[in-house]
Amino acid sequence: MVSDELKQVILKQLNLDEFEIDDDTVAPSVPGWDSLSHVNIIVAVEQHFKVKFKSMEVLKLKNVGDLQKLVDSKLAK
């Protein structure tokens, strides 16, 4: 389940106050989330949670739920 914390990081990066984001949310449905801003979002998530993702891990992400799971897996280590 997508945490509020992750949601806020994403919204802040996209300069949005509020937008519905859940496990199934995909980038094309969120205003401003295109392929160029995607990298900035990933970097913002890494910096906020103090984790590092590999490019191939990022490539496999299908939705925000996957991103949450990836964050969780890094934090569990």
């Binding site: 937008f19 995909v26 449905s29 205003p31 160029l36 801003s37 990298v39 590092k52 191939m56």
Partner: protein, 570 residues
């Protein structure tokens, strides 16, 4: 005598000469690449040509290909050509793009280009079928070639018939259709003959000192000339290897380009300006450990204005990974000339002029003094063989060197006119010169492009027409209809432009304006455009042009000159 004067004959010849050499390497992240040798590629193309022939597709029929990154795209393309038909690669729709917008775009293209058939993936069937069934549609059928069984034995008699069609094609016959940018539904189709393309192959290889040992590495989409001609057709016709990465995968994992160059020892790559920033800034250092760019002898910047800073960032980051700064090159070209008008000289430093920015906007090329606001102009190089270019003023009178004006071009690789679009051709071709709509100047035989006419926005190498954005945003509730403009603003951190929109509204509260902004962003999304910044103005704020419509240029200047308390922006 066997004259290799068509692409099929050239491909066959290469297959005979170096059958086991990699022709096309289809790259997918974390998977073994699919390697097409020259022999396996032409054999599979032959198999696809049977399906095309049996479908009743005739010589000169235009076949649109709307397929994502797939190893069978290349032999399919070649198979269409063998059957004498004309392939035209079109962009696969982004999930954000509203289906109606996609259909509108495709319909417009179908009418202009005279699209006869569509080759696509099953997923798009519900989207495309209504187009075929619409009365008056030029599109006769849609096919799903990735579902074809191409492994069944080939009928020799049919094969001979198809081969005889391929052999009957003349060098002056059309080979492919590519599209120059235009507003939705009004892209401009350009048909390229075999002669044009093969001549252009020689011209570009000469300009790059390129030969059989070169390997072109690309993530560029194949519906755009730099990708299609520069990275697919030129190497394929020349017997060179080309390696193709998915544009979608690359933008999510930019390291892929550098990994492929390292692993495959790529020597040439073409990338738009923003990619230099992207690569320099978005790859974590841990991932660069095994990267070695020593093989890369040419990194060619094209498709959007070249920024000095972008090159500097790239050099700074990658010189410790064996990147040779002398590999940096520029290209200036367009689909109307098949691809290239100018290249800088390979292996030599790029010429850069430090100019007075204010004088430049007045049309004069003046070296920056110590009090000047400096603009660094990076050269796009000298004319390739068979090309000519002049600078003209607004009255279409020729200007001398170091005066800024519209660049008009001609070349041996020049188009005959936009297909089925004579009125558009007449707008831009005069006395044999194609007026590009780009502004620039010539200095010491080198050309510098500094601006676009007609307010075109270029984001990450992609041309975006403000009219498309304005049409979409005009539909948003809360906007005063007709009181919207869109323009590009420089994003120096990204090394490209971002799209900005100014709209008039009667809404006053912050809450309402924030909500309106989201609706405007969503309107952009529906046409697959990311709007970077929204400015909201009160009624009657926008300055009108003499035509009575809001002036993009005047309003952009007004916004950037001074902060206006009436303007809300985010």
């Amino acid at each position: 005598m066997d004259k290799r004067d068509t692409l099929w004959k050239k491909w066959k010849y290469n297959a005979g000469l170096t059958p086991d050499k990699d022709a096309i390497v289809h790259w997918v992240a974390e998977e073994e690449p699919v390697r097409w040798t020259f022999k396996s590629l032409i054999e599979t193309a032959g198999k696809f040509s049977h399906g095309i022939y049996k479908a009743g597709i005739k010589k000169n029929d235009v076949c649109a290909i709307i397929i994502r990154h797939n190893p069978f795209l290349y032999p399919l393309y070649m198979g269409i050509s063998r059957a004498g038909a004309l392939p035209a690669i079109l962009a696969y729709p982004n999930p954000r793009l509203h289906p109606d917008k996609f259909r509108q775009g495709l319909e417009g293209m179908a009418q202009r280009s005279g699209l006869d058939y569509i080759f696509t993936e099953r997923e798009l069937e519900p989207l495309i079928k209504p187009l075929i069934e619409k009365p008056g549609s030029t599109i006769k059928a849609v096919f799903f070639p990735l579902e074809w069984d191409i492994n069944s034995p080939v009928d020799k008699k049919t094969d001979a018939e198809i081969e005889s069609i391929a052999q009957s094609v003349k060098e002056t016959d059309y080979f492919l259709v590519q599209h120059s940018s235009g507003t939705t539904g009004l892209q401009k189709p350009i048909a390229v003959t075999h002669k044009m393309l093969l001549e252009h192959v020689d011209i570009c290889n000469e300009a790059l000192n390129a030969g059989g040992d070169d390997k072109v590495v690309s993530w560029l989409p194949l519906y755009h000339d730099m990708g299609l001609i520069g990275c697919l057709h030129i190497p394929l016709a020349s017997g060179m290897t080309s390696i193709h990465i998915s544009p979608f995968e690359w933008v999510l994992a930019p390291i892929l380009l550098l990994e492929v160059i390292t692993k495959e020892k790529g020597t040439i790559s073409y990338i738009p300006n923003f990619a230099y920033n992207f690569l320099a800034e978005k790859i974590p250092v841990e991932e660069l450990e095994d990267i070695d760019l020593g093989s890369l002898r040419l990194l060619i910047n094209g498709s959007e204005p070249i920024r000095h800073d972008s090159h500097q960032k790239f050099i700074e980051r990658f010189k410790k990974y064996n990147f040779n700064p002398l590999a940096l090159m520029s290209i200036y070209g367009m689909a109307e000339l098949t691809l290239a008008l100018t290249y800088t000289e390979p292996g030599k430093p790029l010429t850069e002029l430090y100019l007075d920015r204010n004088k430049l906007s007045e049309g004069r090329v003046v070296k920056a003094g110590k009090d000047s606001v400096v603009r660094i102009c990076v050269s796009c190089g000298k004319l390739v063989r068979g090309a000519d270019a002049r600078i003209f003023d607004v009255n279409r009178r020729e200007l001398p060197d170091t005066f800024v004006g519209e660049i008009a071009v001609k070349s041996v690789s020049m188009f005959e006119g936009y297909r089925n679009y004579p009125e558009k051709t007449a707008e831009v071709v005069h006395d044999g010169w194609y007026f590009t709509g780009d502004y620039g100047f010539k200095c010491n035989d080198e050309f510098y492009v500094i601006a676009r006419k007609k307010d075109l926005i270029i984001v990450a190498g992609k041309n975006i027409y403000p009219e498309d954005i304005e049409d979409a945003v005009n539909q948003v509730e809360g906007i005063l209809p007709g009181r919207v403009i869109a323009f590009g603003e420089e994003d120096s951190s990204l090394g490209t432009e971002k799209v900005s929109v100014v709209a008039e509204t009667k809404l006053e509260t912050d809450k309402d304006k924030n909500r309106l902004r989201i609706d405007i962003l969503k309107a952009g999304m529906s046409i697959d455009i990311n709007i970077g910044k929204v400015y909201l103005a009160p009624p009657r704020w926008l300055i009108k042009s003499s035509a009575g419509k809001p002036s993009r240029r005047a309003n952009k200047e007004r916004l950037t000159l001074k902060e206006d308390p009436q303007i809300w922006s985010r």
